[in-house]
């Protein structure tokens, strides 16, 4: 149970990496941007890959009528996500400690993981919904109004995961170090449950 608890503690502590490292990275590629342009999505806001990338993405987006990228105080997610992630990390560490001193069983580890997964999936849904709104809810006075073959307005929603051509840009959307740490952490909590299960048998 000691090994399982330590794994649980480390796994949930890795969530705290999200307070330092970004969750996601979206980058745009085009010939006239030889070193690329892009942004990191942190728990509490957006940050350009380079100092002025957010401003420059807004500058590009204004041609197609997209709204400006949200500041920290313009989305409730940026204040709620840190509380949720911080809370889950503390909860996980607490469960791990209680497990270490044999106050709770390994099943709690699984319980934590299920809750975290539900929250994570909900977060992804929310994120995707925001991107859909951001990429399709366009200014009717947009300078360029592009349509697809059927005459419907183009969506400029970046992909949730993977790469996609958007007009002259190729957009890439992938997890960043914070999300990788979180995934590793969640895997470790599963290992914690698994060890606990084996030991119990």
């Amino acid at each position: 149970m000691k090994a399982a608890s330590i794994s649980m503690i480390i796994g949930s502590a890795l969530l705290l990496g999200l307070f330092i490292f970004p969750l996601w990275s979206i980058s745009l590629e085009a010939p006239q941007y030889p070193s690329g342009i892009g942004m990191y999505i942190h728990l509490d806001g957006l940050q350009g890959h380079e100092k002025h990338d957010i401003q420059n993405i807004d500058g590009l987006n204004h041609y197609i009528g997209m709204r400006k990228l949200p500041k920290q105080d313009e989305m409730w997610e940026f204040s709620v996500f840190p509380i949720v992630v911080g809370g889950m990390a503390i909860l996980g560490i607490l469960i791990g400690l209680l497990g270490f001193f044999k106050k709770v069983s390994y099943k709690w580890f699984l319980g934590w993981l299920i809750l975290m997964t539900v929250l994570g999936v909900a977060g992804m849904f929310d994120f995707n919904a925001w991107m859909t709104d951001y990429g399709t809810n366009l200014d009717p006075k947009a300078i360029m109004k592009m349509t697809d073959a059927d005459g419907n307005p183009l969506s400029y929603k970046p992909p949730l995961f993977g790469s996609k051509d958007i007009l002259n840009f190729k957009a890439h959307s992938y997890p960043a170090l914070g999300a990788i740490l979180m995934g590793t952490g969640m895997f470790l909590t599963f290992i914690a449950y698994f060890i606990g299960l084996k030991k119990a048998k």
Partner: protein
């Protein structure tokens, strides 16, 4: 008749032979050899050159930046001349750069660029360049590639022996090529002899910011001090100047200044002089000069008029100044990378005279003098001469070094570059120049550490090297590969203005420091509008200040009313962009100034004095974006006594 036939036969056979000879020579030039030469200068699309070359513009007054080995021109940096292309010398911020004690001067004659050094090695902090006509020295940043400072040199004329840098950038010098009365006075020209002076100015450099300070002037006899180079390594602490017209002729100098068999190299111990001045030596004499400094933070240049300079009489400082005889009106003066050999290029002779620093020091110690000139000891020619490069060419001008034991000298009259060996002084190679070569440059070739891969010559005469463009032609440069035993001509490329000299540096030493744009947060310009919310128009009597911004693809404001005939309108334009290579331009119909090009984060101001009523357009001159054509606006100009209200708008949101 038969004799004539035989003669003609012989003649035609001879011509045939000559023809064959030419053909075979041509084919060897355009065969396998030249295709490998093409590869040597080919820089594939998107790739960078290996070296930056900074060529003086001569009578363009500016500095041009080239890439080597491609020979591609990358930029023209305005220095001493107004440059309507970006507004330099026209904008309110930059006008002060061209102020002198003679007032605003729109033009200059830029000669010898030199890159700052540390321990005798190029360090890529700044590049300096001198102005010959109205004596000045400029400092250009190698981060922004813009002119940051210009200092005028008072009491001097023909600032030609300049702007060479000592090996830790302690000092740069400014010589006097046209001896003048010092102080200036109204006197008969033909009483010049003995009355005129040739002051040599020593400008100290502040190591942190590069700011120039006129430390002292050495009031030398009135010969024409032509070119100079500092000692390096073992001879660090000395500066050497060639002089001509030791005859002190005042007219028909092409003849009268060419009579003496020998003129002089002045050897100046600047360390000793600096110490002397630091300890209160020298006398303060009159001399008004402008010192113009551009502040990157306020983006504005200011002029400080300074008065007075410390003058040092060379005879008052024991052991600081000597003359060494040098044959026949020398031009260039160069010092080899070790600092041991000082090369005098006798422009009316066939020879280079090589002096040994060790011998010079010994001759000084032994007081091995051959009389004096105006009280300055003349060292005995035979005691200081180390050797002679007997080139067989005619008219040696300038020498650079490859760091591998060889010197390369240009010969103007015989139109060639000659390679010779340091120590044995023997000629090892020579190649013709097309045509009449002046200066030559090897990257770092006048420092302790040359980068001896390429050498380029700057030729004075172009003639038929390119497609003809009427009587007036650009000058021409030629690039040579000097990595092997023999020089190999790789490339011809046209240059802008008249490059007198160039400084070149490995690109890796500076390219990563090149600024991409100005950070708007660090813009402390007095008239900056850092957001559209801050844009406004203010009237102060008949002066109107427009605080405007640009961003792709509009001006804010873009409609202005209430301007009146007789107003002086200041357009202060701030470019809000914060990305690499997104300038905006500004021009307004009928402006008798110029356009301005505003880099991202920068504020620039241009004035407009409307003379006619109407609605007049302004627009962005730099194709900035897909909506560039729409980046325009209107100014309504009303009559002098009209009551049109001062108001401005963007997208019909009027403010007043």
């Amino acid at each position: 008749m038969k004799t004539i036939q035989k003669f003609l036969l012989g003649l035609s056979a001879g011509l045939l032979l000559v023809g064959c000879g030419n053909t075979s020579k041509d084919s060897s030039n355009s065969g396998a050899m030249s295709s490998s030469n093409a590869e040597k200068v080919y820089v594939p699309p998107g790739e960078h050159d290996e070296f930056y070359a900074f060529m003086s513009g001569g009578y363009s007054g500016n500095l041009t930046v080239y890439g080597l080995p491609s020979g591609r021109m990358l930029k023209e940096i305005p220095v001493f001349s107004q440059f309507p292309t970006n507004g330099y010398g026209y904008s309110e911020e930059s006008k002060a750069m061209l102020n002198t004690s003679f007032g605003f001067i729109p033009w200059g004659d830029a000669h010898h660029p030199d890159i700052s050094q540390t321990d005798g090695v190029l360090d890529g902090r700044w590049i300096f360049i001198n102005e010959n006509n109205t004596p000045r020295i400029a400092r250009i940043s190698l981060t922004t590639f813009e002119t940051e400072e210009i200092i005028e040199i008072p009491n001097s004329a023909g600032n030609h022996a300049s702007s060479f840098v000592t090996e830790n950038t302690e000092y740069i010098v400014a010589g006097t090529r046209f001896a003048v009365p010092n102080p200036q006075k109204d006197m008969p020209i033909d009483e010049m002899k003995g009355e005129f002076k040739g002051p040599l100015s020593f400008i100290s450099i502040d190591q942190e910011h590069g700011h120039m300070n006129l430390d002292f002037q050495l009031n030398m006899p009135g010969f024409n001090y032509d070119l100079a180079h500092p000692g390096r390594d073992k001879s660090h602490g000395w500066f050497f100047f060639t002089s001509y017209n030791t005859e002190e002729a005042h007219s028909m100098q092409e003849v009268n200044a060419s009579q003496n068999d020998k003129d002089f190299i002045a050897a100046v111990n600047w360390k000793k002089l600096a110490e002397y001045v630091k300890n209160g030596g020298g006398t303060k004499v009159a001399g008004t000069y402008a010192h113009n400094v551009y502040d990157e933070s306020t983006m504005t240049a200011t002029t400080e008029m300074k008065e007075g300079v410390i003058s040092v009489d060379p005879r008052n400082v024991e052991g600081a100044v000597y003359y060494m005889p040098v044959p026949k009106s020398p031009h260039g003066l160069d010092v080899d990378p070790s600092g041991q050999y000082i090369i005098g290029n006798g422009k009316l002779s066939t020879q280079l005279s090589v002096y040994s620093f060790d011998k010079m020091m010994k001759a000084i110690e032994n007081k091995d003098y051959d009389g004096d000139a105006y009280g300055i000891p003349i060292l005995k020619f035979d005691s200081v001469l180390e050797g002679v490069v007997d080139s067989g060419g005619l008219g040696p001008l300038h020498t650079e070094f490859d760091g591998k034991g060889f010197g390369y000298t240009t010969f103007f009259i015989s139109s060639e570059v000659v390679k010779w060996k340091i120590g044995t002084w023997e000629v090892v190679d020579r190649l013709p120049s097309f045509y009449s070569v002046g200066h030559l440059t090897i990257p770092g070739g006048n420092s302790r550490k040359p980068f001896g891969k390429y050498m380029f010559s700057m030729n004075k005469i172009t003639k038929d090297r390119y497609l003809p463009t009427g009587p007036e032609l650009e000058h021409s440069a030629q690039l040579y590969d000097i990595s092997g035993d023999k020089m190999d001509l790789l490339l011809d490329f046209p240059t802008h203005g008249e490059p007198h000299y160039a400084a070149a540096i490995p690109a890796d030493l500076i390219k990563s420091k090149s600024k991409k744009y100005y950070d708007l947060e660090e813009n402390n310009h007095k008239y900056a509008a850092k957001s559209e919310a801050a844009t406004r128009v203010e009237r102060n009597g008949n002066e109107v200040h427009v605080y405007a911004t640009t961003v792709r693809s509009h001006f804010a404001p873009d409609n202005i009313e209430g301007i009146k005939v007789g107003d002086k309108v200041y357009f202060h334009i701030t470019n809000l962009e914060q990305d690499f290579d997104v300038p905006h331009g500004f021009a307004v119909i009928g402006a008798n100034t110029s356009e301005i090009l505003i880099m991202p984060g920068q504020t620039k101001t241009i004035t407009w004095e409307p003379e006619r009523e109407g609605v007049w357009p302004f627009y962005c001159t730099d194709f900035c974006s897909a909506l560039h054509q729409e980046m325009q606006g209107y100014v309504r100009v009303s009559g002098k006594n009209s009551s049109t209200k001062l108001r401005w708008s963007l997208d019909d949101e009027w403010k007043e």
